[in-house]
């Protein structure tokens, strides 16, 4: 066992040494003595090596690390989703057993929310917020790096059951049986980790999982502090609050929400760990009881929904106008609605608890606030539509994704207003209606805007152009897949199919199969995206003119593109040798 570990450590050390050597050999510029040289790092023409990526403090490098990490986690969580949907092709639990199914929806939910969405948005913010506000780097570059490097271990902790099992199998094949590695089973307690079940489950992996989740919360909070301080203190001279772009507004609000919400999750997790391991009764009767857990969890959990959705709103508001040739309609209203959502989101948590028998007066007031929170979201939608009005819409891949995303979001949002009303919620709570509702929102807004942003900024990120036709194909396939996957769930729910079960009565077969088809379409879209990215990185045409999207024409050549233009100039200068 120790031999293996030592060997592993040796390999890592060798890699680091090799990376250092490469870096030493290829960097002609003198290095500061441990200090951080602002403006030194750029994405192109830098020494390549493992060490660069392990030690970088440059916000753009760290941003890319976040994005790559998030994509890997997202693919993993996505495979979980495909497996869930595969199980549901037929009524009995014949593909995987019930226990595996429970593990799948748990790991899928957790991975998507904490390890995919949050890191990818933090990565985009890391890369672009400093460029958009004219800062040299993040306010605290070292904290930035630490916040990122906490994530890989937290992923390992959260999904340890699987990783340790692979390791155990490999060692076993080599003739070494390590019982401890087999003991960790993936958790099957749902992403909400409701007590008392989460306290009673014996599986030691649940403890490792809770620690990993706590770690990811610490990382997220550190990243959020950094983003807030950066926008507050590092803006360039000429960037007043009034000039702050819409994406940075969204990121500041998201980070504010994180600062208030994640500490609560952290505390709740610690209490849960204490209940599990030290016999405290925070969440057991006659201590606080399971309802206390739910209050604490959703006081975090509902804002979390907006934490992951606000950056997506920001991306839509930022990118859409660029391809319409008009300014964002009602900019200030979009900003105010962002802030309003941020504040209101803390006041609606108990709408997740309508069926728990809480005091009816509390219930009614939460219903009122939950309906009210639809207003600022609707304001945004109307502003997007007004931006499109009379605009010259160019149907590039980013725009197709945004239009598809907005349409799916409208369906998801309307179904959400229904859910916010107590009588409807009492009927459909715990059915596929809820799953359909939140996926229409999550899928429509989050991955779609991520894809849109990945295409919009692809030239800036890589210096190359992607394959546009393939990108449009991907956009259409993914949007169709989104509707086909999640609309049937609404019907399934209204017909009363409960969620989180591996089996179901045969009457629900057809709609489930349609939904699975949609999921596979989305998966196919993702494969096309991966191919396009990989292939364009290799052989995509080089970008010569920074104004890829003809933004100068409509006076929308914003700061990040101006930065890109300067980069291209510099590189041209270096190539001509008059450096």
């Amino acid at each position: 066992m120790w031999g293996y570990l030592l060997g592993l450590a040796g390999v890592v050390l060798a890699l680091v040494a090799a990376g250092l050597a490469v870096r030493r050999a290829s960097s002609s510029r003198p290095m500061a003595d441990g200090g951080f040289l602002t403006g030194r790092g750029t994405s192109y023409g830098k020494a390549f090596g493992v060490a660069r990526w392990l030690t970088t403090l440059d916000h753009k490098d760290i941003g890319l690390l976040y994005i790559v990490f998030g994509v890997v986690a997202g693919l993993w969580g996505g495979i979980d989703a495909m497996m869930i949907r595969t199980e549901l092709v037929t009524p009995p639990a014949d593909v995987w057993d019930v226990e595996t199914y429970n593990e799948l929806f748990t790991t899928h939910g957790i991975t998507m929310l904490f390890l995919f969405v949050t890191p990818v948005f933090t990565g985009i913010a890391n890369y672009f917020v400093p460029l958009l506000v004219g800062a040299d780097d993040m306010a605290f570059p070292r904290i930035n790096a630490i916040a990122f490097w906490l994530l890989p271990p937290s992923l390992l902790f959260i999904r340890a059951g699987l990783v340790t099992e692979v390791l155990a199998k490999v060692l076993q094949a080599g003739g070494l049986v390590v019982e401890a590695l087999f003991a960790l089973e993936p958790p099957a307690i749902g992403w909400t980790m409701y007590t008392p079940m989460s306290i009673e489950v014996g599986n030691p992996q649940v403890d490792v999982f809770l620690l990993g989740l706590h770690l990811s919360g610490v990382a997220t909070t550190m990243g959020a502090i950094n983003l807030v301080v950066t926008v507050f203190t590092e803006r360039a001279e000429d960037v007043e609050w009034a000039d702050l772009d819409i994406f940075s507004w969204a990121i500041v609000t998201m980070s504010g929400l994180i600062l208030f919400a994640f500490p609560i999750l952290g505390s709740t997790l610690v209490m849960l760990l204490l209940d599990r391991n030290f016999g405290t009764t925070f969440f057991l009767s006659p201590g606080g009881g399971p309802l206390l857990y739910q209050h604490l969890f959703w006081f975090f959990g509902h804002p979390e929904v907006y934490i992951i959705v606000l950056p997506a709103f920001g991306l839509i508001s930022l990118i859409l106008p660029k391809f319409v040739g008009r300014r964002l309609f009602g900019f200030t209203f979009v900003v105010y609605s962002t802030l309003a959502i941020g504040v209101l989101s803390f006041g609606v948590w108990a709408h997740h608890m309508f069926t728990t028998g809480i005091d009816p007066r509390i219930r009614a007031s939460f219903m009122a606030v939950s309906v009210a929170i639809a207003v600022p979201s609707a304001v945004k939608v109307f502003n997007w539509l007004a931006t499109l009005w009379y605009g010259r819409i160019r149907l590039t891949a980013p725009v197709i994704f945004l239009l598809g995303g907005i349409s799916i979001f409208i369906v998801g949002g309307v179904t959400g207003v229904f859910l916010a009303s107590i009588p409807v919620d009492l009927l459909v709570h715990g059915t596929y209606y809820v799953v359909g509702h939140f996926h229409l929102i999550l899928m429509g807004i989050i991955p779609f805007t991520m894809f849109a942003a990945s295409y919009y900024w692809f030239p800036l990120l890589t210096g190359r152009m992607y394959n546009r036709r393939l990108a449009r194909v991907q956009a259409v396939v993914t949007i169709v897949g989104g509707f086909v996957a999640f609309l049937p769930m609404m019907v399934l729910g209204m017909e009363g199919l409960p969620r989180r079960y591996a089996q179901y009565p045969p009457g629900f077969t057809f709609l489930n199969q349609v939904s699975t088809l949609g999921a596979y379409l989305i998966g196919a879209g993702v494969v096309v995206w991966l191919y396009n990215v990989a292939q364009s990185l290799r052989v995509g045409p080089r970008v010569e003119d920074a104004d890829v999207w003809d933004l100068k024409e409509t006076d929308q050549f914003s700061r990040e593109w101006q930065w890109f233009e300067r980069r291209l100039e510099e590189r041209r200068g270096e190539l001509e040798g008059d450096d």
């Binding site: 495909m82 593909v95 595996t100 094949a173 292939q535 045409p541 080089r542």
Partner: protein, 158 residues
């Protein structure tokens, strides 16, 4: 390009390097898949059937790796000109790997039936595509008589 071509050794080296990297990626992915699906998909059993060694998982897997690292890359170099998708070897690799996958699906899927076949088929297809792409891309990088810019220029500029 005959066998006497003086670029041949480098080409073969490049293809084998590509095969090794591609195989590493695919094996890791398959191992994760196997555990993640709780051995329901039975990928290693499928592999063993694929290389005509049903019942011997470990040896079957080793043969599989050997094929992926050496035999397929050599075939790839031999027939490169006749594989559609050129001049980019990575795209040819995709076509080549799709053919391999068809073989794999025909021989390997054995007892896998019903809904399991869906996920089995799609994930192994993606695994093979990744293998083919990596094989071709690494090969293209190492091969002396090929430059990426050649491919780049042959692409339509948007």
């Amino acid at each position: 390009m005959g066998l006497a071509d003086r670029n041949r050794p480098r080409q073969i080296l490049g293809a084998i390097a590509g095969g090794v990297v591609g195989m590493a990626a695919m094996s890791i992915a398959f191992a994760l898949l196997e555990v993640e699906t709780r051995y329901e998909v039975g990928i290693f059993a499928g592999i063993a059937r694929f290389v005509m060694l049903p019942g011997n998982l470990l040896f079957g897997f080793l043969v599989f790796v050997a094929f992926g690292a050496v035999v397929w890359p050599l075939l790839f170099v031999l027939f490169e000109d006749r594989i559609p998708g050129g001049p980019d070897p990575a795209r040819r690799g995709l076509v080549f790997a799709t053919l391999l996958w068809v073989l794999f699906a025909l021989t390997g899927s054995g007892e896998v039936t019903g809904a399991t076949l869906l996920i089995y088929g799609s994930l192994t297809l993606v695994g093979h595509l990744a293998y083919g792409f990596i094989l071709g891309a690494v090969y293209g990088r190492i091969r002396p008589d090929f430059s990426v810019s050649e491919v780049r220029e042959s692409r339509e500029v948007p």
